[in-house]
């Protein structure tokens, strides 16, 4: 039995003329013990989705269940067994680390001792500071505390809404390492994030944009479904290069991607055809390489094809 099931979830906000469709029929399933990522930008519907799954909001359409319990009818039971950290959650600033943890443990009818093993790897990093007020912690430490508080009652499903937003690359990496280590405990974890690069750290991901799911698959599966040839190109004048790439007849799409530009080629075109074209444009030795798509490439392609369909 899957841990979390979403079936055609719909959610609307506002009235009459100003209705915003936050979720337009979202469906997916999460297996027990999976590390499942909901990847999408702000406004995609991630928070609305999480709030429905954690029983904080009623869906306007569709159904959902957690551990087999319906989010509408059995909300009380769900609230006893899941862990939830909302976006940008900051705990109780004027309580110490230990007081925060103790509080959450007691609220969930357990003690720190009972499930200490579960959080040991994470909590031990901040335990030396347990008498420090939560408001005086660094961002990374706050994350660890929040995670510990969410885990202390050994939830069967953990919902983390944008736990890494606004955090620098180093802390983000550390956080995901912690999440992966939790998989050993058999906890199902749903994490939402706007950072595409974090998708590769999940077992499976759901790419979401504008209230719709673009794709649900393992990261490799998403990448494998990228149909077109993809090429990375670099040159000394990137701005000019981009314009030339867009003019190439074999280009389906071209966009900057950090150090390189990525070019999605039409079927039948290859890196060499691009190289030839560029040489015709007076580039002496253009740096052109065929590459594998990245989650972000897939997201962009999916976004654009969605736009075409609307």
């Amino acid at each position: 039995m899957p841990s979390v099931v979403a079936n055609n979830l719909e959610k609307r906000y506002g009235k009459k003329k100003d209705i915003v469709q936050a979720l337009k029929g979202v469906s997916f399933e999460v297996e027990k013990g999976e590390l499942f990522g909901i990847i999408g930008p702000d406004g995609a519907g991630k928070t609305s989705l999480f709030r429905i799954l954690t029983t904080l909001l009623l869906p306007d359409g569709g159904t959902a269940s957690v551990d087999g319990l319906d989010v509408v009818k059995d909300f009380k039971a769900i609230r006893q067994r899941v862990g939830y950290m909302p976006g940008r959650f900051s705990l109780y600033q004027d309580l110490t680390i230990e007081e925060n943890l103790e509080f959450f443990a007691t609220i969930f009818n357990t003690t720190i001792k009972e499930n200490y093993d579960l959080i040991k790897d994470i909590y031990s990093q901040i335990e030396p500071f347990k008498d420090r007020r939560a408001g005086k912690l660094s961002g990374g430490m706050k994350q660890k505390l929040a995670l510990s508080c969410a885990l202390i009652h050994k939830p069967s499903v953990l919902f983390l809404d944008e736990p890494t937003t606004g955090v620098d690359a180093v802390s983000r990496k550390e956080f995901w390492e912690m999440l992966r280590s939790l998989k050993k405990q058999g906890i199902t974890i749903l994490v939402s994030t706007p950072y595409m690069d974090e998708a590769s750290l999940c077992d499976r991901v759901a790419l979401i944009q504008n209230g719709e799911i673009l794709s649900v698959d393992s990261p490799e599966g998403v990448i494998a479904s990228f149909k077109h040839p993809l090429v990375a190109v670099k040159d000394s004048n990137m701005l000019q290069l981009l314009n030339e790439l867009l003019r190439f007849e074999g280009t389906l799409d071209a966009y900057p991607f950090g150090e390189y530009h990525h070019v999605v080629l039409k079927d039948g075109y290859t890196a060499s055809s691009l190289t030839n074209y560029l040489q015709q444009q007076w580039h002496v030795q253009p740096d052109v390489q065929t590459i594998r798509a990245d989650i972000e490439d897939c997201f962009i392609a999916l976004m654009k094809s969605e736009e075409i369909h609307h």
Binding site: P41, G43, S138, V170, P194, N210, G258, E259
Partner: protein
């Protein structure tokens, strides 16, 4: 140099051992750097490294403890009002008033910088056309999708044609397509002569900058072009460079 003249040389921002202390905590530790006019300068660092504090000093919002700095030729100690008039600012947290329309926001911000009605009218029409927002001109900002909001916010920030614009994580949480459109706008602005001072958590965006500085524990531990940084730190991407530097940090936040 006469304190009331506009910046005539090629330097947009200059900092010399700029320091900010809060009690016995040194948030910004004697940083020195120069940003040339029209440059896209990336200002990176982990949370708590001192980026926000440094930016505040450069925007004239916070008084340095010691050191020197000038922005658009104006001194950050004595000429903060002139600085504020010469710069634009945009952050992820705040950009526009949600309960005002697109046009009202433009008018409001342009008015703050003392632009004439004729200027505002002409440029507003131009801006709306550029952003394809003509149909939405009378709509409340809160009804716009996030990506459009951020693009509009950027346009508003440079509406009064400042010398320098400070961008504090302008693309946070924005979808990948809009991010790129945003950077396109940044390029255009830089081409027109506006100096761009931007902070970001997206390492690929670091690549779009002419030069990048990385702050660690209040100091600037690296400052160079992305290509040079990768060579110096033997890294294949800016992400790696950042990780190598930031991991050494003793303090975070």
């Amino acid at each position: 140099m006469n304190s009331t003249t506009m910046n005539t040389n090629n330097t947009a921002i200059q900092a010399e051992v700029l320091t900010k202390r809060f009690g016995d905590f040194t948030a910004v530790d004697a940083i020195s750097f120069e940003v040339k006019k029209g440059e896209i300068f990336g200002f990176l660092g982990a949370n708590g490294a001192g980026k926000t504090t440094a930016m505040r000093m450069l925007c004239g919002l916070s008084m340095p403890t010691s050191g020197k700095a000038s922005v658009a030729g104006f001194d950050v100690y004595k000429q903060t009002e002139q600085i504020k008039r010469s710069i634009g600012y945009m952050s992820q947290k705040f950009s526009l008033y949600e309960d005002l329309t697109v046009k009202e926001n433009i008018r409001f911000y342009a008015g703050i910088y003392g632009k004439s009605d004729a200027f505002i009218k002409e440029k507003t029409a131009f801006l709306l056309k550029e952003l394809h927002l003509e149909a939405e001109a009378g709509k409340l900002v809160r009804s716009l999708p996030l990506g459009w909001k951020q693009k509009l916010a950027f346009s508003v920030a440079i509406f009064h044609e400042p010398e320098i614009v400070f961008l504090d994580e302008p693309t946070g949480g924005v979808d990948p397509v809009t991010r790129r459109e945003f950077w396109n706008m940044i390029y255009k602005a830089a081409e027109s002569g506006i100096t761009i001072f931007v902070t970001t958590h997206y390492m690929d965006e670091a690549e779009y900058c002419n030069r990048v500085s990385i702050m660690v524990d209040g100091r600037i531990d690296a400052l160079d072009t992305p290509a040079q940084l990768k060579k110096t730190f033997d890294a294949r991407s800016m992400d790696e460079v950042f990780l190598k530097l930031a991991r050494k940090a003793k303090r975070s936040d």
